[in-house]
């Protein structure tokens, strides 16, 4: 079954990937933060997303996984992960969001058949601020999942080369 999927046309395979990406995200939040994310009915206002974490994928699967959220959400993630207060968590915000993005990328990669050993992940990069343009060459295929974390928007995007 798994081998069969790995041999399928990439476009067909990717139909299965969006629910797996959402599951990968939900698992990371459930296991590492003790939280469940809600599905957002609509995309958020971009200016609300002032923290961006990115993990690159290279090899058999080439692209970029991004997690975008508000700084309020990012601090809350650090609070939940560290079990600490907001003051202590603020200084760990970037590290926490980077690690969440890293775990989502790894968890997703491990769920899709045939890519675990042949796709490498980069260490995470985190941008703070919303006034930027992100240009990636991996723009053949994009999937985006709009979620809410404690009523704050959180967007997971996967951009891939063919």
């Amino acid at each position: 079954m798994n081998n069969h999927k790995a041999e399928m046309d990439p476009a067909v395979q990717r139909e299965y990937w969006s629910p797996l990406l959402e599951l990968s995200t939900q698992e990371v939040f459930a296991l590492m933060l003790g939280e469940r994310l809600d599905i957002s009915p609509a995309p958020p206002c971009i200016s609300d997303l002032d923290v961006t974490s990115m993990v690159g994928l290279a090899g058999s699967l080439c692209g970029l996984l991004t997690l975008r959220c508000s700084s309020t959400s990012a601090v809350l993630m650090a609070i939940k992960m560290l079990g600490t207060d907001a003051t202590s968590a603020k200084g760990q915000m970037e590290d926490a969001v980077g690690e969440v993005c890293n775990m989502i990328a790894g968890n997703f990669k491990n769920k899709i058949s045939g890519f675990g050993d042949t796709c490498k992940l980069s260490v995470p990069t985190v941008i703070t601020g919303s006034n930027y343009n992100l240009c990636t060459l991996a723009d053949d295929y994009t999937m985006e999942i709009n979620l809410r974390f404690h009523e704050n928007p959180l967007v997971i995007s996967l951009q891939l080369n063919r």
């Binding site: 698992e27 990371v28 459930a30 296991l31 590492m32 650090a78 992960m81 560290l82 079990g83 760990q92 590290d95 926490a96 980077g98 690690e99 890293n102 775990m103 990328a105 790894g106 968890n107 990669k109 491990n110 675990g116 050993d117 992940l121 980069s122 260490v123």
Partner: protein, 128 residues
Amino acid sequence: MDNISVLIVDDSSVMRKIVERSLRQAGIDLSQVFEAGNGLEALAVLNERKVNLVLCDINMPAMDGLEFVKQLPKVENARGIPVVMITTEGSEGHVVQALSAGARGYIRKPFTSDQVKEHIVPVLAGNQ
């Protein structure tokens, strides 16, 4: 599991804290916790300190976890110390690579404290 000294190697300080908390939640009594941000820093710690257990990420800058495990036998203080990988790289190939290089266990992120207990307790028991 009493008086265990541990070295936690991960480039994320948040993850190092989570791993430490998970070990405590798993009922492991930690007497000392040392931290390192990559394999090179970990080797430097082990040159100075004796520990009972090393928990190590794979994807890290400077020196990754697989290279760290390969280098470990060269450190006199570290011979025989069990290393358990704790990483997002969960493919079968990575597990085989890590175990072949000398790791004694493998935990995939994300993880629960129950999973930490399940993997770490037998490793510590086997080393006592």
